[in-house]
């Protein structure tokens, strides 16, 4: 499921490097303590999330660093 990120995260991702052409691989922490590793974000604005997660509840995003 693709979810649009709130503007503050779109702005933040624009300041970070891409992982490939048109996407970033990120680790995401949510307000309820759950975490997702190595999730793609397309065009710095659309987060690919499994069901049951909300882009509006993102607490922290970081570029995924391992391969």
């Amino acid at each position: 499921m693709r979810a649009s990120l709130p503007p503050k995260w779109i702005e933040y991702l624009g300041s970070l490097p891409e992982s490939g052409m048109g996407y970033q691989r990120v680790d995401v922490e949510f307000e309820d303590g759950r975490e997702l590793q190595d999730v793609p974000v397309y065009n710095g604005e659309e987060l690919d999330l499994p069901n049951g997660f909300s882009a509006a509840r993102v607490l922290r995003i970081a570029i995924h660093t391992s391969k």
């Binding site: 891409e18 490939g20 052409m21 793609p40």
Partner: protein, 217 residues
């Protein structure tokens, strides 16, 4: 295989060799930028001809089988590190293949152009002033010219989204723009194998020079 005109031979004679008896060259052919191996400054082997080198056919025999003399538009001699990765020519020259993120910093050459493929017309990595943000990916013009559809771009650049990357942006950065160059590694069920470029510091304003829409498939 192409036999060079006398004018083109003079140009190559005046240029330093890339190795003993050969030049690595790039030129325009049929509206694409093409790389090849020029032997004795007179005969150019294209990617499809390189098997002949491995067969060790004598130069005289190769020359006899070449077609008419031709002029090559915008001919220039390349350094090894500027060869398109993943090709027979780059393998023949011993150029290693790895992702751009692991490659050393190099700098764009005068007149070099690049393509960026995206599923989004409003690509957020391209700013209103026509510059690219730092850390933005693209490919070389020669590599991107092989991509004819949005789905081919998805496969060649191993993109995670299945959406056809139909928007093709052409980038002409200033000379000596820092970048890293490598080969897209297989991922997300795609082959990869295209050339990838990271503009470490982004590009200058006005470097976006055009946009085209490719067919989806």
């Amino acid at each position: 295989m192409l036999r060079l005109s006398l004018f083109a031979q003079f140009d190559l004679d005046a240029a330093p060799e890339s190795g003993m008896g050969f030049h690595l060259v790039e030129f325009d052919l049929d509206r694409s930028r093409v790389q090849g191996l020029a032997l004795n400054a007179s005969l150019v082997l294209l990617e499809s001809d390189l098997g002949l080198v491995q067969e060790r056919l004598p130069f005289e025999r190769l020359a006899k089988s070449a077609p008419e003399l031709i002029e090559l538009a915008n001919l220039r001699v390349l350094r090894r590190e500027h060869l398109q990765r993943g090709t027979k020519l780059s393998q023949l020259m011993g150029v290693r293949t790895s992702g751009a993120s692991e490659a050393p910093i190099e700098f764009s050459q005068s007149g070099s152009r690049y393509f960026r493929f995206s599923a989004f017309r409003d690509d957020r990595r391209i700013l209103e002033d026509g510059s690219l943000r730092p850390g933005t990916y693209a490919t070389t013009e020669a590599d991107g010219a092989q991509v004819k559809t949005g789905l081919e771009a998805v496969d060649r650049y191993a993109l995670p989204s299945p959406d056809p990357a139909v928007h093709r942006f052409r980038i002409a950065p200033r000379t000596k723009t820092p970048l890293r160059q490598g080969i897209v590694q297989p991922a997300y069920g795609h082959r990869g194998g295209g050339t990838e470029i990271i503009f470490e510091m982004g590009t200058n304003p006005g470097s976006l020079i055009d946009h085209a829409v490719l067919p989806e498939r």
